[in-house]
């Protein structure tokens, strides 16, 4: 059996990446993801890898772009404001169809927010794309340290398989929370070689590769480019949708939640069940592609939906779209946080505790 260690989500991300063969990391410090670059700076040189501390997130993302073009498994990690800075580069990486992984350990708010505390307010930006040009990225949302570790391996595999950018979305809570992680290496299907990598033509088949723009790659015709991308995205939708359904077969209320909120919601479901209330949890694991059909079916079976997210309401838009008005969809958003008296920083910013969700569930089921 694989070694079992108590590590936090951030370290699990870093270790997962290394176990996926990522030996090149380009990053910039920002709270609450600093444990990732710190770990990489310590560990990568030991395995012949490279850690570069960039001067800003815009540089990080272009180092990732360059590294992806060079054919290596490369990544960066950041938090919300840094992720905003990366949007241009993300759009370019999507255009060039090169595989890479970016982790966003999101934090609360637009702008500086709370300077690094918890919140899930990047959902819309991450899933819909903050950059220009109608591209898509696969988005994985782990909700435990083990999933952080496993999802990084999955992320690199999916990126290589489809030649897309994979975003791993966690948050302050998932990043900081330590849990036992089994350091297991996941098995995936074989992948095609990267004959398109830039490294000097003599270092591969002697044929040169050059990249100018996507339209150029597709004969200068944007419709042909978008047709190709639509096919890629359809393949991803057909085979890569992932979600967890928990105690939802006989539920009369479906709680939909992801990431750290889903942890709280899962507990709330258990508490509700203990009271005899038939609540169930639906947790999207891929936020894009979003498990639309599965959400709709589960929602229609239950007849009522409660979305729980630590945000003013972003996931709820996707859920409403999926449900198409067939059943009522309620939201327990950031206003559902319990805010203690006293402190203004940690305590004062509040948390949506399982008990807060249970209260809401009691009113609905």
């Amino acid at each position: 059996m694989a070694e079992r260690v108590l590590i936090d989500g951030n370290e699990a991300i870093a270790r997962g990446a290394i176990s996926a063969g990522c030996k090149h990391f380009f990053g910039y410090p920002i709270t609450p993801q600093n444990e990732i670059p710190e770990f990489m700076s310590r560990e990568l040189p030991k395995i012949g890898g490279v850690f570069v501390q960039s001067e800003c997130e815009a540089a990080s993302v272009y180092m990732v772009y360059g590294g992806a073009l060079a054919g290596a498994r490369v990544m960066t990690s950041t938090a919300s404001p840094g992720f905003s800075l990366m949007q241009e580069g993300i759009s370019y990486i999507a255009e060039a169809e090169v595989p890479a992984v970016i982790v966003n350990v999101m934090r609360m708010g637009p702008g500086i927010g709370t300077g690094g505390q918890h919140g899930q307010t990047d959902y819309r930006q991450v899933t819909k794309g903050g950059g220009h040009g109608a591209y898509r990225c696969i988005v994985l949302a782990p909700y435990s340290a083990q999933e952080c570790f496993d999802h990084m391996q999955l992320a690199f595999y999916l990126a290589d398989k489809y030649r897309v950018l994979v975003l791993v979305l966690t948050d302050f809570i998932i990043g900081r929370m330590a849990e036992p992680v089994e350091l297991r290496t996941l098995e995936f299907d074989p992948l095609p070689g990267k004959d398109w990598a830039l490294k000097g033509k003599a270092l591969k088949d002697g044929k040169r590769k050059f990249f100018v723009s996507a339209a150029f790659n597709y004969g200068g015709a944007p419709p042909r480019y978008y047709q190709h991308m639509a096919e890629v995205y359809q393949k991803i939708k057909d085979s890569e949708i992932r979600y967890e359904a928990y105690r939802e077969e006989d539920a009369t209320l479906l709680v939909v939640s992801y990431g750290s909120s889903a942890r709280m919601a899962k507990r709330a479901v258990d508490m509700a069940r203990a009271e005899g209330r038939r609540a169930g949890l639906f947790r999207p694991v891929t936020l894009w592609p979003f498990p639309e059909e599965a959400v709709q079916q589960a929602a229609c079976r239950a007849g009522k939906v409660l979305v729980v997210e630590d945000s003013p309401g972003e996931l709820v838009e996707d859920v409403k779209f999926a449900v198409q008005g067939k059943v009522p969809v309620h939201l327990l958003g950031i206003w559902g946080r319990y805010t203690p008296k006293g402190g203004i920083m940690t305590g004062g910013s509040g948390i949506i505790y399982p008990e807060n969700i249970l209260e809401e569930v009691r009113g609905l089921a």
């Binding site: 006293g342 399982p354 008990e355």
Partner: protein, 187 residues
């Protein structure tokens, strides 16, 4: 299995940055790794490096841990002058509160919880280092709940401090753990 082990323990340790609230939370989680299938340690603290509020939640369980934090914990350790009123109110009926009454402005009013009031800072100072107060609290918690064996905590502590310059620190920390257990007045 250890005495009093029920297969599920949850604890919030609250204090200010520098008091070691997170240190003992993490220590408990590390020590819990050998006896429990599931462990969560969730530290929550402000952006400031020192002096801000800090709090952590530890859960040890034989079953999958669905939550990771709770509004109403079964046990709370309050370091120094952490907000007593807030946490006293939140503890589950029948739960446990460990704090230093000599540093608190108010009295505990609830009668449906177990209260261990111990002058941890003074005890630690008498042992040679007031910064070991957190270990006095942890010792009391372990004695009162049996969540993990104190020896396991000492082992983890030894591993963590191995190669460290301060051998006296380790010895004081261990003594503080034992002293806390003694003063918990279990039974």
């Amino acid at each position: 299995m250890e005495k009093g082990r029920t297969g599920y323990f949850e604890l919030i340790v609250a204090g200010r940055g520098g008091q070691g609230a997170l240190t003992i939370g993490r220590l408990l989680a590390d020590a819990g790794m050998s006896g429990y299938r599931h462990v969560t340690y969730f530290p929550n603290y402000g952006a400031a490096m020192r002096g801000g509020e800090s709090e952590c939640t530890v859960i040890l369980s034989d079953q999958e841990i669905t939550g990771l934090a709770m509004l109403e914990p079964a046990a709370v350790i309050l370091m120094g002058a952490a907000p007593l009123e807030e946490f006293e109110r939140r503890i589950k009926p029948g739960g446990l509160l460990i704090f230093d009454g000599s540093l608190a402005a108010q009295k505990v009013n609830r009668e449906d919880i177990k209260v261990i009031d111990l002058p941890a800072t003074r005890i630690a100072a008498e042992l040679g280092d007031s910064r070991a107060a957190n270990f006095v609290f942890l010792g009391a918690y372990l004695a009162a709940t049996g969540a993990v064996l104190p020896e396991l905590c000492e082992e983890v502590l030894e591993k963590k401090l191995r190669g460290g310059k301060n051998k006296t620190l380790l010895s004081i920390d261990k003594q503080a753990l034992r002293e806390g257990a003694k003063l918990a007045g279990v039974g």
